[in-house]
């Protein structure tokens, strides 16, 4: 009686423990490769449902529509990584695109640089207010979201602003392609690779991740938490500006309601599908590339599946909720003593 009890208990729980270990390994593997797998599966579904997709330039379409999403998502991921959020970055993209459309004619090659400096400063202001005034990032960037949206309306006169001349200074980014991938997308990939190197191999990068994992611990380890927060938000502003540049490159015009005005939700979704932790401390820029590509496939997939196009934001919303729910469970691991 005793022994049989012991035996059942033994087998039952050993299975469970091995399962736990296996689960942990799968979890780590999933963290590394999950975004790529999700993208491949999604791409496969679309390719099967729409046979003309791959041959008919579908890859180029996905990559070019992924480009601004990727850049916004990378900026968002930097802010998520320090344990905050930037709800204003998509609004900065639109404002930046409008400013670029207005200045490109009169200022020429200086315009993109000037606009990038301005939007970087916008981001830095967000960061300064979060770090030094200690305004919670959610509330603060919700506020600046409204401000940037209004600014975009005022600056543009609530209409579409067209690039009058010198459009070729940026449009080549969209028209030039390597291996059918437009430069706008490759720009995002380059930024992602640089971001990956920055996070992996530099002290400021490691400091940012440390802040996201445990801010108090980072502070007591002499990590300059406030300075790095400003940098993370400034990067978010800078990358939002790059996203605005890709929009001008593609459309040659910008408006508060036009292309790029709806990037907030896809940007967050791409960052999260790309494995970025919503609570901070986990970010892999390379995976954000696949996150952005997956998100860019959503409109194509919904069309292929004959869904109403107006359900796109529903899909983004569901994706965010599901992925966050899954990742939070995954990181809940017991201490091995």
């Amino acid at each position: 009686m005793n022994t049989s009890f012991a035996a059942t208990a033994s087998t039952g729980v050993v299975g469970q423990t091995n399962g736990g270990l296996l689960q942990r390994r799968i979890g780590k593997l999933w963290q590394a490769l999950g975004p790529l797998v999700i993208f491949i599966v999604m791409f496969g579904i679309v390719a099967i449902l729409t046979p003309t997709f791959v041959g008919g330039g579908g890859v180029t379409i996905v990559a070019s529509s992924a480009a601004p999403i990727l850049l916004v998502a990378l900026g968002q991921a930097f802010v998520l990584n320090i344990g905050s959020i930037d709800l204003s970055n998509a609004a900065i993209t639109v404002l930046g695109a409008i400013l670029l459309a207005m200045t490109l004619g009169p200022l020429g090659a200086v315009a993109p640089l000037l606009v990038l400096v301005i939007v970087t400063l916008f981001g830095a202001v967000n960061g300064l207010l979060v770090a030094y005034m200690q305004v919670p990032s959610f509330a603060l960037t919700l506020g600046t979201l409204g401000i940037f949206q209004s600014a975009a309306l005022v600056v543009s006169g609530a209409t579409t602003v067209y690039v009058e001349s010198n459009g070729e200074l940026v449009s080549w980014l969209y028209t030039t392609a390597i291996a059918s991938l437009p430069m706008t997308f490759l720009l995002g990939v380059i930024v992602a690779v640089v971001a990956w190197l920055f996070l992996r191999f530099t002290r400021p990068g490691q400091g940012m991740t440390a802040i996201g994992k445990n801010e108090s611990g980072a502070i007591f380890s002499a990590v300059r938490n406030r300075g790095l927060k400003v940098v993370a938000y400034a990067l978010s502003g800078f990358m939002a500006g790059l996203a605005g540049t890709t929009i001008i490159a593609q459309a040659g015009s910008a408006s508060p309601m036009g292309l790029g005005s709806d990037l907030l939700l896809p940007g967050i979704a791409a960052a999260i599908v790309g494995g970025t932790s919503i609570s901070g401390g986990v970010m892999n820029p390379i995976n954000v590339i696949f996150g952005a590509l997956t998100v860019a496939l959503v409109p194509i997939a919904t069309t292929a599946l004959h869904f109403d196009p107006s359900t796109q934001n529903l899909v983004y919303g569901v994706v965010i909720i599901v992925v966050v729910a899954l990742t939070l469970t995954r990181s809940r691991s017991a201490t091995v003593k």
């Binding site: 009890f5 208990a9 729980v13 994992k213 007591f220 380890s221």
Partner: protein, 512 residues
């Protein structure tokens, strides 16, 4: 008479060959033990010896891989904490787990499990609830008002509530409860410890106790029998009268203690202290505190929890502001004193809140070690991972960190091993000049504590100045070259240990 003997021979709890492993790690390799009614059992062992796993099995949080658990002679299986609770096993946790916004009575009733006392149709019957709580409190001899909000109680009173909650589960059946006290004294001040010890003797009259502590003197004082664990096994089961503290230490760590009395050199009167604190004040916290930290010396500050010594130590590290006074480094006043600047000038700080402030738990041990002072692991802002790993591996070997896996997230290590890594983070600065230690040994097993103490002494021998907030007065007397006593934010006494020889009583008199 015969019935009595049979009762006495059936233990309250008996474990036979209980085993548990986590993946490749065998946390418990077949543990057998028994506990009789009226016994106080001391359970000791280093961090990682398997104590926590054993306690988690006893409280139903883990299920064993093999072996049997008998309660009052009957084989039992705990599917969860509720089953253990129903079997009369209650636990008082090291970190308290009460609901501070609820009353004493509500907290005690929270564990009642199947018993419905205190509620009617899912609503509180306040009168019954408070009456039941009063009865339980009376059993343990506490006069607390059941209607008090737990958040308003002192630490030791809250511990009484935890004990009441632990025994609450069984009194209705008239069985014999088993209370597990998991390092209950590690956060208590001296006087409060006495209250708890009195309580343990009271518990003996109607139940049994498993007392887990790192303080061997407490174990010797309170327990009838002592169980020693090492590497997942029970290595000794001794009646208290038959062992000494030294023997227990040897059993626990596998070798004899070689802690030696430090030799104290008088300070050169002409030498400039590395760090001087002059008339430091912060409103409501401390007033006019002055101290000098010399190279190669330990300045210990003793005081109760409200004495202001924690705040002073944090101000020295630049973690908190002060209102007036000066901090001088090598004789010149420092300005804009913040953590990054302090660290650049060669200060290090081991905080008492290890998990919150001492480390970035989600980062690997290696990343934690080089986070602050990368040394050769970084060229300017660029991190060199291979050099980082070598540095971390060297520290792991020096400090005998277990498990020997520098890539493992730091929050997966046990407390003692975490503290070794936290210390390595500061020792990795070859220019380390002042080390501020806030309860560096809190919650550490004797083996880890010895390693940490050795490293502190080595840093001192290499010319660092140490400011120490010790856990115990004995520790302060053992380590300190100078001792400052603080009370209510003011320094009440100073002892130069090269000439003075204060007793713990001398210190205590000036503390309270």
């Amino acid at each position: 008479m015969t019935q009595e003997t049979s009762q006495a021979t059936t233990p309250t709890l008996r474990l036979t060959d209980v085993r548990k492993s986590f993946g490749p790690v065998d946390a418990l390799k077949g543990v057998s033990l028994y506990i009789k009614k009226g016994e106080v059992i001391g359970l000791i062992g280093e961090n990682g010896a398997g104590k926590s796993t054993l306690l988690k099995i006893l409280t139903g949080i883990y299920q064993p891989d093999g072996g049997t658990i008998e309660v009052n002679g009957r084989v039992t299986k705990f599917r969860g904490p509720r089953d253990a609770s129903a079997a009369g096993i209650g636990v008082v946790h090291q970190e308290q787990s009460l609901f501070t916004n609820l009353t004493v009575a509500e907290n005690i009733a929270m564990n009642a499990g199947g018993h419905r006392t205190g509620t009617r149709f899912g609503f509180y019957d306040w009168r019954a609830l408070n009456k039941a709580a009063s009865e339980t409190l009376e059993i343990i001899g506490s006069k607390l008002n059941p209607k008090t909000r737990v958040g308003d109680l002192s630490f030791v009173d809250r511990q009484m509530v935890e004990i009441a909650r632990a025994i609450r589960t069984d009194t209705s059946k008239g069985g014999s409860p088993l209370v597990i006290l998991d390092e209950p004294t590690s956060l208590l001040e001296r006087g409060e410890t006495a209250v708890l010890e009195r309580e343990i003797r009271k518990l003996k009259s109607f139940g049994s106790v498993i007392f887990v502590s790192h303080r061997l003197d407490e174990i010797m004082r309170n327990c009838d029998r002592i169980l020693v664990m090492r590497n997942g096994e029970l290595v000794a089961d001794r009646v208290t009268e038959s062992v000494t503290e030294d023997e227990l230490f040897k059993l626990m760590v596998g070798h004899a203690s070689h802690a030696s009395k430090s030799v104290r050199k008088p300070v050169d009167p002409k030498a400039t202290p590395i760090l001087e604190v002059y008339g430091l004040s912060r409103k409501g916290k401390y007033q006019d505190v002055s101290l000098a930290a010399h190279a190669g010396r330990v300045t210990a500050i003793v005081g109760t929890s409200g004495s202001g010594r924690e705040e002073v130590s944090r101000a020295i590290f630049g973690a908190e502001k002060f209102d007036s006074g000066t901090i001088r480094l090598d004789g010149s006043e420092v300005r804009g004193w913040r953590i990054p600047k302090a660290v650049r000038k060669g200060l290090g700080f081991v905080p008492s809140e290890r998990k919150v402030e001492g480390m970035v738990g989600g980062y690997s041990a290696a990343e934690n070690i080089v986070l602050t002072n990368p040394g050769k692991a970084a060229v300017g802002p660029i991190v060199l991972p291979w050099k980082r790993n070598k540095i971390a591996q060297d520290w792991f070997t020096t400090l005998d960190v277990r498990p020997n896996d520098i890539g493992l997230e730091l929050d997966r290590f046990s407390g003692g091993n975490q503290q070794k890594v936290v210390l390595a983070k500061w020792l990795n600065d070859p220019e380390l000049r002042v080390l501020v230690l806030d309860h560096p040994l809190r919650g550490l097993d004797p083996g880890a504590a010895e390693t940490v103490n050795e490293q502190i002494k080595k840093a001192v021998a290499n010319g660092a100045a140490v400011v120490l907030l010790a856990d115990t007065l004995e520790e302060a007397l053992d380590m300190g070259d100078e001792i400052l006593v603080m009370r209510d934010g003011a320094v009440t006494a100073r002892y130069d240990m090269t000439v003075d020889d204060p007793s713990t009583l001398d210190l205590l008199e000036r503390m309270v």
